[in-house]
């Protein structure tokens, strides 16, 4: 940066800066109006009775209800379950894609992106068709004699988990694939030439170098799944009730705005906690990297 000595030029620069700042005002205004104000409103609503008076009764009611705690547990089970399966399925898939020839990898990536761009409702419907009692998968299972009775695959926790993994896997894969593609192939070659087996190379070279990508992918999975609504609402069949569907039911069926708001705030707190945990974990990983780098 050059230092502007001329006071007229300095005033000019300030005016220009103000002008550029003003360009983002319309976008900021609408985000404030339709995203930030609503969050503030939820906080306010959580302290109001139906009559509009201030109360902490909503909190007492929601926090003393067993349904709330089971919703919290279900939310975490769904999020952690989705995350675990995404890591198990996505990491090897990313490894295969990263080791494929570029043309093959691009083609396969296009297939990975296809579900990402299909409507969540289309995909949920597809899973309903596949997982129903008389659906395709059960027909194949009973037809081949693998199971005598059709398995309960949908309108329960299993079905919800399948739908959520299907939604999150492409989003998890993207950062992991990017990280693995950036690994210097010479490192793998060096490891091989020094006599490391494939398993050792994956464990000691590839996985540590793609840890950043797996970490980013995990954050994405968590942020998305913690508030997931459509999949549990449809594939859960009313039996799987994380915070999101509990909020909907409290609002639409019971018209209880106060309790719905308290549940919403629980969701916000959960997100904040998870965010802080991930930040702390990242700092820890970064710290360890520096440590081993000098050892």
């Amino acid at each position: 940066m050059t230092v502007i000595a001329d006071p007229f030029l300095a005033a000019d620069a300030r005016r220009e800066r103000r002008f550029f700042l003003s360009l983002s005002l319309p976008a900021l205004f609408i985000v404030g109006l339709a995203a930030i104000l609503p969050i503030v409103w939820i906080i306010r609503q959580s302290f109001l009775t139906t009559g509009g008076e201030y109360t902490v009764g909503n909190y007492e009611k929601v926090l003393s209800s067993g349904l709330t705690w089971s919703a919290l547990v279900t939310t975490l089970q769904l999020s952690l379950g989705t995350l675990a399966i995404c890591i198990l399925l996505g990491t090897p898939l990313a490894l295969a894609l990263a080791s494929a020839r570029p043309r093959v990898a691009n083609l396969l990536m296009a297939f990975v992106m296809l579900p990402l761009w299909t409507s969540i409702l289309v995909r949920t419907y597809g899973w309903l068709v596949l997982l129903r009692r008389d659906g395709l998968i059960n027909a194949a299972l009973t037809g081949s004699g693998l199971t005598a009775e059709p398995l309960p695959l949908v309108y329960n926790f299993t079905g919800t988990l399948i739908g959520m993994v299907h939604y999150m896997l492409p989003l998890f894969l993207l950062p992991v694939y990017a990280a693995m593609r950036d690994i210097d192939a010479n490192l793998v070659r060096a490891s091989a030439s020094m006599g490391a087996t494939l398993g050792q190379t994956i464990r000691t070279v590839i996985l540590p170098l793609s840890a950043g990508g797996i970490f980013s992918g995990s954050i994405i999975v968590f942020i998305y799944t913690i508030g997931f609504f459509i999949t549990p609402a449809v594939l859960g069949g009313g039996k799987v009730n994380p915070l999101s569907t509990r909020i909907e039911r409290t609002l639409s069926t019971f018209q209880d705005w106060g309790s719905a708001s308290v549940l919403g705030i629980l969701l916000l707190i959960l997100m904040a906690l998870v965010g802080v945990m991930f930040l702390a974990a990242r700092r820890l990983i970064a710290g360890r990297k520096v440590g081993t780098g000098h050892a």
Binding site: I30, I36, P38, I42, A96, L121, R123, G126, V129, L267
Partner: protein, 263 residues
Amino acid sequence: MLEAYPDNRLARILLWSFCALVMAFLILPTLVVVPLSFSASNLLEFPPRAYSLRWYEAFFGSATWMAALRTSLILGTLTAMIAVPLGLLACISMNRLGGKAAVAIQGVLLTPSIVPGILLAIGLFFVLAAQRLVGTLFGVLVGHVVLAIPVACIVLLPALARFDWNQVQAARSLGANWARAIGGIIVPQLQISLLSATLMAFLTSLDESVISIFVASGQNSTLPKLMFLSLRDQIDPTIAAISTLWTVIVVAVVLIVTLRQKS
């Protein structure tokens, strides 16, 4: 990357068969609805015993579905028309300001994509209820615009980073006002990115379901809201027909965007 292990054929076969299975898992739900949509039967039988176009006729012949389709298309168009100009201005602002100011603006603009949809939806519902605007097109529109702005910015920010700002300064020093400098120089040069941003913003609105479920109602119900409600109640192959059309349209749009960006 694993070419350093040419002898490890077993591991390779295992890895690729695993890969094929996961790919099948990813694609199957989207593909399975296509043959179903051409079924002649009321049942969700697979493969269909006879084929027909009756579910497409059911969709296009239904006043409710058509109203929802119209609402969704109008909403998508309006969302793109509002979100892209706002996003472009914000991106110019971030590009020029740089530093902490840009990070702060980006942080605020990204909030809607981080906050769970269900929270935005009920919060917006409360705010709109206080203004007696629940069920109006306006209510859903602002919700969709805030979701589409970050999407537009993701496309436009890198494009602006490649843009040579000296051209604007040249135009300014020759007497063009800001509106003319932006409209006459930035917009034409970012044409392709702006088109991509527009299509992405449109898709974001078309695809959005949670805000619509809470805020839209009656005449202003969107296609995703109606699909959601009918998935909960009873499922007939009409949804398969809509899903097939939907997927075809989205794939076409995404192909246009990627091919345009490459050329």
